[in-house]
Symmetry: C2
Subunit: 481 residues, 2 copies
């Protein structure tokens, strides 16, 4: 529940509907940003994604992996954990003072034979440590006390070495020495900085340099990941062999792809899932072809009234009703705790946790947050990933797009529209897939160069809601199936 | 999971997909029946619903309520239960020997001040005792041992005196002395027999005669209930005052209303909920305007292949994987047990239970079943309820149509199409409703003469999947809100 998809309508609409610390001001600000993005500040030629030159091509402090070892493990972790964990900062721009924070959990068994997986959360502005690692796929989750950890049954480090990056600067523990830089974040710089992070991280962990490498993530990382993959592929062409990154594949969940189809999918999803009236749906379809129009803005406001207090990120999940006028304790519903992000917030702000993580050594003047509130603007963002997808497909990269089907934010309907618009040849038509049981885990279509899969009953953060199904999907992807 | 909506496509398609004791033969038989129904055997003038004359207007054995008292309660029921329970047979046609079985649980507190509620399940052929009472709204559910009962937290007899009827003959313990009659069941005779049942039941329980009376139910009872209400209203006009039934309202969940819109809703629901491919959806929309066509039949077969093993009655619920090649015990998922109908089957076939219920005294030559397998044909069924709805609306009856939104069988999309086709004036537009918490329980639209409500996250048997929300809805309906 803690992502902002800055640019997707509903986020604007719903952020202040849910109690995750964002008030109406935040929502209004986001709305303003979206107008801006959809206005002059977006590239009209979305094919012109360019891989930026490195602002500072020098090698930064590559550091020593030994210094990043989390000795004795994380505070409050259960006993008997044998895999190694590392975390710390990698400077991505020395001149401007941009430093990205990472957390790395080696594979639980035999890490040297396992691939390397980079996980990225979206937002923009949300933390891969707080969301990806702590409530989705990392080895540990945080208990309601906010102090102790539990082992996640379907942790992805059972299959891969898992690297979580807080990106861009301003997110989580990642920072810049120059705070105005938080307003200069955008897609291009994020790709550039992440690439610089990888080059330097591989220098710090040289034995991972030749490892099969996968990038995975969700939501707004639907932009980050193709952009980063494109950057890696282009730079690999120019790079000396020691700097080549062995990117094998990308796997993106409930990721944004293309404004027009994503938005239409959002409207149609809301209607077909009985969340809005016929009239509002008809209006959205008619007027929101031009999202800047007065009629569209009015209808977007109206969505919120009609839908009321639900979790747009999983339309059937319980909502975290902390504080407010409810004195009830958050309840676990079948193992799912809607308030888990609160516990993570408390945990990662504990001084002993930050010390163990080698985080926040420069005394950042704000608390760690699940999603950043210091990032208040965004300089560039394309309206579509189609041109990049076309390049990635022709590069032969292994591509899996997956979609939790009870997420309204980046809905399965929108993603289907988007993939259809790519006009790819179907190699294997729609069919159910399943994990260990006979029961359907979701559906799959194999296109030439790209596979699409759904995860039945999963919300926006798929591994959070359907951990076993998500794990099975990832495992089979990494196995090349 | 134990209804057959004989006439709705998907049932044909999915019945043998789920393990509830029906094999492929059954599915084929149902398919044949549907063809028949959609062919010559359906009334082409659906406005010509007629209230049949009673075949035998004589007063049957009205019996004594004392004889029907379940003394000491049901076998295995928890201690401390104070409300009275009755059950037994009411003859509805003496000449033909048709006898309907009922189970009646008085209100838990102060029954004399509470309304009377008749609950009907659909099918046709499914038991209101086995489904409605035992897994949905009755005071007790059956534990996995198949022998002991638990108190249902949101039992509807907290608000009303609850009457469950096994109807028509051939369902559950209801029987005819002439077994050929099981093939002569149809909508008209069902309405007629249920009316006769009510007249005689009120004679047996005279202190309920002037009580506010509601009819509630779901699924194929979307036909039974309006037809019964229409029958009551018409017969009330002719009846002597002592035979007037004080019908106040009807409340129908995931009920079929009108073939064309229900079917179109089914196809669109499957697509928008990411269960079938674009291609199959397009085909269904194009070819299934004529359900008898070869192309349509082929596509219907294809649905099953594309969808695989899920529960169409709650597309996100776990499926009961008993027997088969799985040795795992059924698990309870957040309080929901997908195998509960199995326990009911065992419980209601225990000799001591049948004895306590005064059931099966004539030694019916087949076991009690959740859904009847002795009913193998159906003589009449309209293609639409619209003409009856129009009459009921103009009669001033209180009407609530509700829809659990994760049911594919009679989907919320189809029900919305159907209600739209009724062309009623909107009195209060689409808005969220909630029970005790702030969280949205579903949505509501008030039309002139009819209210439509959804229940968020509920499958076909709404009170089974969302007991608290269903209870709140019923409570407010009975309170006239």
């Amino acid at each position: 529940m803690q992502y902002y998809n800055l640019f997707i309508l509903l986020v604007l609409v719903l952020l202040h509907g849910l109690s995750h610390g964002l008030g109406i001001d935040q929502a209004s600000r986001l709305r303003a940003l979206r107008g801006k993005r959809l206005g002059g500040e977006r590239s009209s030629d979305d094919g012109r994604w360019e891989v930026l030159d490195m602002e500072d091509e020098g090698f930064f402090d590559s550091g020593k992996m030994e210094d990043d070892l989390i000795e004795g493990g994380l505070p409050g972790q259960p006993s008997g954990v044998l895999f190694k964990q590392y975390s710390g900062y990698v400077t991505v721009n020395e001149l401007k003072g941009r430093n990205l924070f990472y957390y790395f959990a080696e594979a639980a068994e035999d890490p040297s034979s396992k691939p390397l997986l980079l996980w990225l959360n979206g937002g923009p502005g949300c933390s891969s440590l707080g969301v990806g690692a702590m409530v989705e796929i990392g080895p540990f989750g945080v208990k309601p006390d906010g102090k102790t950890l539990y082992l996640r049954p379907y942790a992805w480090n059972k299959v891969a070495n898992t690297l979580f990056l807080e990106s861009p600067v301003g997110v989580g523990f990642s920072y810049s020495n120059n705070s105005f830089e938080y307003n200069e974040n955008g897609d291009k710089r994020t790709a550039q900085d992440t690439y610089a992070f990888l080059i330097n991280w591989f220098r710090r962990f040289p034995h991972y340099k030749n490892r099969d490498f996968y990038i995975m993530g969700e939501s707004y990382a639907g932009f980050y990941i193709p952009e980063l993959a494109d950057t890696i592929i282009r730079r690999n062409m120019k790079a000396v062999s020691s700097s080549i990154i062995h990117l094998k594949g990308i796997m993106i969940g409930n990721g944004i792809m293309n404004d027009m189809t994503d938005n239409r999918g959002f409207y149609d999803y809301l209607w077909s899932h009985a969340l809005i009236s016929d009239k509002t749906h008809q209006g959205l379809v008619e007027y929101c072809k031009f999202p800047d129009s007065y009629e569209c803005k009015k209808l977007e406001d109206h969505i919120e009234l009609e839908v009321g207090l639900i979790d747009f990120y999983n339309i059937y999940a319980p909502v975290c009703l902390r504080a407010s006028n409810s004195s009830r304790k958050p309840k676990r519903h079948g193992g799912f705790d809607p308030c888990e992000a609160d516990y993570v917030l408390r945990y990662l702000n504990l001084p002993q946790v930050q010390e163990a993580l080698h985080a926040n050594r420069t005394k950042i003047p704000y608390a760690w947050e699940v999603c950043s509130s210091v990032i208040t603007s965004w300089t560039d963002s394309p309206s579509t990933m189609f041109p990049i997808y076309k390049r990635l497909i022709s590069s032969g990269l292994q591509i899996l797009i997956y979609s939790g089907d009870v997420d309204a934010v980046v809905s399965v309907v929108g993603t289907r529209y988007s993939i259809n618009a790519l006009n790819l040849k179907v190699i294997r038509p729609w069919h159910p897939w399943s994990e260990s049981t006979k029961v359907v885990g979701g559906y799959r279509v194999v296109y030439e160069g790209l596979t699409f899969a759904t995860i039945r009953g999963a919300g926006h953060e798929v591994p959070r809601f359907q951990p076993r199904r998500a794990f099975a999907l990832m495992e089979s992807f990494v196995a090349g199936k």
